[in-house]
């Protein structure tokens, strides 16, 4: 696993990290709950055949305190749109996970020309009182890893401070990622995305970890029924909510196949 190239773009005055690796047609990725404190194997798999571009979302690791100036849903959508444009992803294929998948879906809905093909891993954005998602912000700390990943150790390792990391800045960056997600999705995860799903014309792959303990799999059906473009649902065995952390090879293979 080698390091990606890192560049910085300006979003609303906040320095925002963009990772880039590989060659071939561009493929963007928007991370889920917790963001990306570090590079991960899933992105290496994608980079084997594509130019993978990974911009940080506002407030997520690499996104500084960009969330703090976003008060409305429109503020968020405009910030993410500006981020994709500045990262060179306009018109490219786009994958997203969890909260990032919700924003990827918004991009394809509101600006159809900005996304070619779409892959959504257990996206946020809907809420059904009869089958509610788990509340990720009302958990005992020791329960969180097991809710995020089928293998809790993978989540814990993702967020453990690397040698030489700033002992104050590192934990605060992890908390900030949780705050940024809460800022847009509190309290139910319901951004009324349902109203905009019919605007999505892009071919859309819906991926779900078979052991997702945050977002019930029934939501795959809700997305599938509402999205206008062609859709397909694939369930990833042995994977939790952040399926790409648990099963990098299987998730990358599914996405690369869909985008081909």
């Amino acid at each position: 696993m080698s390091e990606p190239e890192t560049t910085t773009i300006d979003i609303n005055g906040f320095a925002t990290r963009v990772w880039r690796k590989g060659t071939g047609p561009k493929l963007g990725y928007l991370a889920g709950l917790g963001g990306l404190p570090r590079w991960m194997p899933f992105l290496d798999r994608l980079a084997e055949s594509r130019t993978v571009i990974v911009p940080s979302l506002p407030g997520f690791p690499g996104g500084d305190r960009g969330h703090s100036v976003l008060d409305t849903h429109l503020d968020w959508l405009l910030a993410v749109r500006a981020t994709l444009d500045a990262a060179g992803l306009a018109g490219a294929d786009l994958a997203g996970s969890s909260v990032g998948a919700s924003l990827a879906a918004e991009m394809a809905a509101v600006w159809p020309a900005s996304v070619r093909k779409l892959a959504l891993i257990a996206p946020f954005g809907l809420f059904d009182a009869a089958d509610p998602p788990t509340d990720p912000w009302a958990q005992r700390a020791d329960a969180v890893p097991g809710l995020m990943c089928a293998d809790p150790a993978i989540w814990t390792a993702m967020r453990s401070a690397p040698e030489g990391a700033n002992s104050i800045a590192w934990p605060i960056e992890q908390t900030r990622a949780s705050e940024a997600a809460a800022r847009i999705f509190w309290p139910l995860g319901n951004t009324r995305l349902e109203k905009r799903l019919p605007l999505i014309a892009a071919p859309t792959l819906l991926l779900w970890g078979a052991e997702d303990r945050i977002m019930p799999r029934s939501y795959a059906g809700r997305f599938r029924a509402a999205i206008a473009g062609p859709t397909e649902v694939q369930v990833i065995a042995g994977a939790g909510h952040l399926a790409e952390l648990d099963r990098p090879d299987a998730v990358a293979l599914a996405i690369l196949g869909w985008m081909a």
């Binding site: 305190r65 969330h67 703090s68 008060d71 912000w137 009302a138 958990q139 005992r140 700390a141 329960a143 002992s167 104050i168 934990p171 605060i172 908390t175 900030r176 949780s178 705050e179 940024a180 997600a181 809460a182 800022r183 509190w186 309290p187």
Partner: protein
Amino acid sequence: MKLMWFHLMPYTELPADFRDHNPSVWVDIHSSLFDPARAHHMYNDFMDELEYAADCGFDAVCVNEHHSNGYGLMPSPNLIASALARRTTDTAICVMGNSLALYNPPTRVAEEFAMIDVISGGRLIAGFPVGTPMDTCYAYGTNPSQLRSRYLEAHDLVMRAWQEKDTFAFNGRYNQQRYVNIWPRPIQRPHPPIWIPGGGSVETWQWCAEMDYVYCYLSYYGYKAGQALMDGFWAEMARLGKDRNPYRAGFLQFVGVGESRQHAYDLYSEAAEYFYGRCLHVDPRWATPPGYVSEATQVAGIKSQVQQAASAGAIGSTAGTRFGSVAREMDAIVDRGYVIIGSPDEVTEQLREVARNLNVGHLMLLLQFGNMGKDVCRANTKLFAEKVMPNLKDMFGEWEDRWWPQPMGRAQRAEVPAFLPKLAAE
């Protein structure tokens, strides 16, 4: 020194095995535990107790706001305060307070507080808490990432609504109102005294200093755990060039007065263990909504020795994280200083030491706590008023309390008909 009588209004009939079968007293406490007919008597007992405390000569009666909470039956403290305004005469009414970010529009707080101030003839102390995670983010669904900025904006709006003479437009980040013009306007000019209950946030201390507000540390863990925190507060005041006027601060303390220490121990053990055992049983999953604690305070929490010292005494970074290490048996409850017990002389001595060490001029006393019955509560209140209070009143006489209500003159105030103070009736 001001002695203030505080009521939390706890539901007094949680089952003995509450902790074994319920995850939390707060947020998702089950409705089957609430008996409205029993609560009818609780509310009326509690209001009797507050009125009795006023009759006994306490400087203020205090109420506060909680939501979905088995130990705090006041989602609207203003309702209780308005009743107290009619059933007390000279006592200050301390609403501690209204969580500003929860009111939409926040001018509701300006209006209701003005009503209480006008009805009471200018006896209101206006408390503005941010509110706990349980109350604000979970029970009320407020976004934790916006809570503090909403709070601060609502504060600005309320203060302007009280003070500006002409109708104005408020063009805020979260609140837009084209015509702000509240009726009634408060008696106290330019506004009622503002008190801020808070945890250990350095930013709150700085803000209180800048705005010249009273800072109150309303902990359930007593003077020992509060020492490091109040030391931090006074160190910050010194750094900012503020004097050590003890009336800049308020502090909450549970107290049980008996004929002797053993008598008090026997008398108050059940109520204390009820409170610390059942009422402070809060699920830690309600502790840390992301963004509730500002990044500056998180940094301070990681770095600061003040915070580390405080954490040694069952204090966490938010109200919610403290509950895990609470002492629940009477011996430890007393040892740790959560509840001060003893004969009147012993309590007097301890409270003089507490007030001196913490340098606190506004002592808020919880003389009813847990499932304490009305008779015991009255006895505690009366004993305190007669045998303890007179020996504390002289403290801090050299300082001026610039943060106390300035009511209308007695002769100018309305007579409240058909109301007999209870002591006079006995």
